[in-house]
């Protein structure tokens, strides 16, 4: 009798405990940034949290700076996906102060920021794969350097690099795009007529996933020089390549304390550039939505994401893992 009672009590406690684990998850808010790779990450993470951990997930469309500011001031949203740490001066202070907890490098290879020319151009004019080659014949790349919009960190960095490389009067002109959309479209447009193109872009993105581009060789990465280049008042810029960019998932301090299971999951969620590039290119080719791209990833890589889950979650999602 006593055993029965103890057994019953334990069972109740266990059940309650299990329920408590789910009840702890409750409502979660996660950002959905306005670029492709981030949207895929959000879609995958949302699915896993909802189906594996029983959360009610609210997706918050946003972009980097507003999301960071909101989190710093109000503690919402709970999870920030794909913060490109190098490009966001506001990020490090928040981590240092404990308001933000960095939990993973969601892009494990790091983001690639570089200067590119189209593959067809590199093939026909191999000398253009180096900076010297381009400076010797700027007209061959179209005479223009396509730069990122005002307000992006790369705007300042590229500007300083170009100053250091002294392009004044060389025949190469810096053209600043008004928005990321026009930068991306200029690449698509160049490819549609095999026209020359030269400028800044980053991976993993749909564009670099779909259109084969070749990196232009520039002077190697120099940490000091790059740090100065990030400052608009850098006195003597020195030409330096970009480092591999840290792209992190971050959560708010209070959320981390209350939801260790979710934090555990998120610290595991990570994509290589190859994986992300493949998903993004697949999405473009099939004219699919971000949800469908996430489904594609989930159905093609059960081993990969299976390893991210806790035992309970694995059990719940067993049907898909087999």
């Amino acid at each position: 009798m006593k055993n029965l009672l103890t057994g019953a009590a334990t069972a109740v406690a266990l059940t309650m405990g299990a329920n408590a684990a789910y009840a702890d998850c409750g409502e979660v808010s996660i950002t959905e940034m306005d670029w492709a790779s981030s949207a895929v990450v959000t879609a995958v993470a949302t699915f896993l949290m909802e189906q594996g951990y029983g959360c009610t997930v609210q997706k918050v469309p946003s972009s980097t700076v507003p999301a960071l500011t909101s989190l710093a001031e109000t503690g919402e949203p709970d999870i920030l996906t794909e913060v490109w740490a190098n490009s966001t001066p506001a990020y490090q202070p928040l981590v240092d102060s404990g308001k933000l907890i960095e939990v993973a490098n969601v892009l494990s290879d790091g983001g690639v920021e570089a200067w590119w020319i189209p593959a067809y151009l590199a093939e026909s004019n191999p000398e253009l794969t180096t900076w010297e080659g381009i400076m010797a014949n700027p007209a061959a790349v179209g005479g223009k350097f396509h730069d990122c919009p005002s307000g992006w960190a790369c705007d300042i960095i590229n500007n300083n690099n170009l100053k250091a490389a002294n392009i004044e009067g060389s025949g190469l002109e810096r053209f600043q795009h008004g928005s990321g959309e026009t930068l991306q479209t200029s690449i698509a447009s160049a490819f549609s007529e095999k026209a020359p193109w030269f400028g800044y872009y980053w991976a993993p993105t749909a564009v670099l996933g779909k259109y084969p581009m070749v990196r232009v060789e520039v002077p190697a990465y120099n940490a000091e020089a790059h740090a100065c280049n990030g400052d608009v008042d850098c006195a003597t810029p020195v030409f330096s390549a970009y480092p591999a960019a840290k792209v992190a998932t971050a959560v708010s301090g209070p959320f981390a304390k209350e939801n260790p299971e979710i934090v555990e999951l998120l610290s595991n969620v990570s994509f290589t550039n190859a994986q992300m590039g493949e998903v993004l290119a697949w999405r473009l080719d099939n004219n699919a939505s971000y949800d469908e791209a996430a489904v594609h990833f989930l159905t093609s890589n059960p081993d990969v994401w299976g390893a991210w889950l806790s035992a309970d979650a694995k059990a719940k999602l067993g049907a898909l893992l087999n």
């Binding site: 189906q51 700076v65 959309e181 026009t182 200029s186 447009s189 549609s192 004219n287 489904v295 594609h296």
Partner: protein, 342 residues
């Protein structure tokens, strides 16, 4: 079993349906179903949309094929369109580049007096002229002179072209009911279609590095008021006066120049005033497609959450708007002979 399976078997189309390409990507709903082992429970009676129908019959295209088709159609038409449109719009690039260069090259101590003189000549009002001078100095004080001049030059060129094209179109519309019926939906489209929707494809036609891209963006939006109000103004001219003009044997040109345009002038000037305002409204969107000027500062402020930068640039745009509004309204009341005070 999708909802519309029954429909196709009733229609005897099952064989034909099987012939289709059923490689649609798996949807989230399907994945959820697979995961929980339950049948997807969709709505009770789903709308007969292309996607829902193609679930039952893979020969029916999906909506995504429609969008892809439009895209392919555009890309196929592109070389032809480009060959025609590029040369026609080249003068716009020259004008914009020329204006930007001029406004930048002329030093401020020559430029500002010229602008103030134009304001005086147009408005003949001390209040307006003083306000114009004061605003320009204010903008210069906060180191926004250069960007303000860039925006101003773009507005001048785009408004000038809008008026030069828009007034004749409005006149033509006022003479032909049929033309009006055709053009009014086009004008509605230009005012409501989100600019980015047609701008991004335009980048395929013209290089984004050409200034005509944002010139076209501004003109297509801003030309609408002057066209509408010219049409309206001419149609609203007192029919008794037109009858008298006819009775005394005026031909169409004499009527247009001697009677209709002068009497429609208040409405036409209102249209020009609105065109200027709408050009300024487009400044930020133009900067999204690489136009220089105050819009760039606004965007920077938005992107970096530098609130002050954005607000100051925004106020700069407002100041320019108010200057141009006051000057054009003052010029209007001078020109409008029908309101001679007595």
């Amino acid at each position: 079993m999708a909802f519309y399976d029954g429909l196709f078997s009733v229609l005897g189309l099952t064989e034909w349906c099987k012939g289709g390409d059923s490689a649609a990507p798996m949807s989230m709903a399907d994945l959820l179903a697979k995961s929980s082992g339950k049948e997807t429970s969709g709505p009770l009676f789903p709308f007969p949309s292309l996607d829902n129908l193609s679930e039952s019959c893979s020969s029916i295209i999906q909506s995504r094929d429609v969008t892809k088709g439009i895209e392919n159609g555009f890309l196929a038409a592109k070389p032809g369109l480009k060959a025609v449109l590029d040369p026609i719009t080249q003068p716009l690039s020259w004008l914009l580049d020329g204006a930007l260069w001029t406004f930048a090259a002329v030093p401020w101590f020559i430029m500002v007096p010229i602008l103030v003189a134009i304001a005086w000549y147009a408005s003949r009002s001390v209040g307006v002229t003083v306000f114009v001078a004061f605003s320009i100095f204010l903008l210069g004080l906060v180191d926004h002179y250069d960007v303000a001049m860039q925006t101003l030059s773009i507005i001048f060129v785009c408004t000038g072209i809008s008026v030069m094209l828009g007034v004749p179109i409005g006149i033509a519309m006022s003479k032909s009911d049929r033309l009006q019926r055709v053009l009014v939906p086009v004008l509605d489209l230009l005012q409501t279609l989100p600019t980015f929707v047609y701008l991004i494809p335009l980048i395929f036609l013209f290089s984004v590095t050409e200034s005509k891209l944002y010139g076209i963006a501004i003109i297509l939006y801003a030309i609408v008021p002057v066209v509408r109000l010219t049409d309206l103004g001419i149609r609203l001219v007192d029919q008794d006066v037109i009858e008298a003009a006819n009775a005394f044997g005026m031909n169409s040109r004499q009527k247009l120049v001697g009677v209709e345009l002068p009497l429609a002038l208040p409405n036409i000037m209102a249209g020009i005033n609105q065109t200027i305002m709408m050009s300024l409204a487009m400044v930020v969107i133009a900067s999204l497609v690489s136009a220089p000027g105050l819009g760039v500062n606004v965007l920077r402020g938005i992107r970096n959450l530098e609130l002050g930068v954005g607000i100051v640039a925004g106020i700069g745009i407002v100041l320019l708007a108010v200057i141009l509004d006051r000057v054009s309204k003052a010029a209007l009341s001078r020109v409008d002979m029908t309101r001679v005070k007595h």
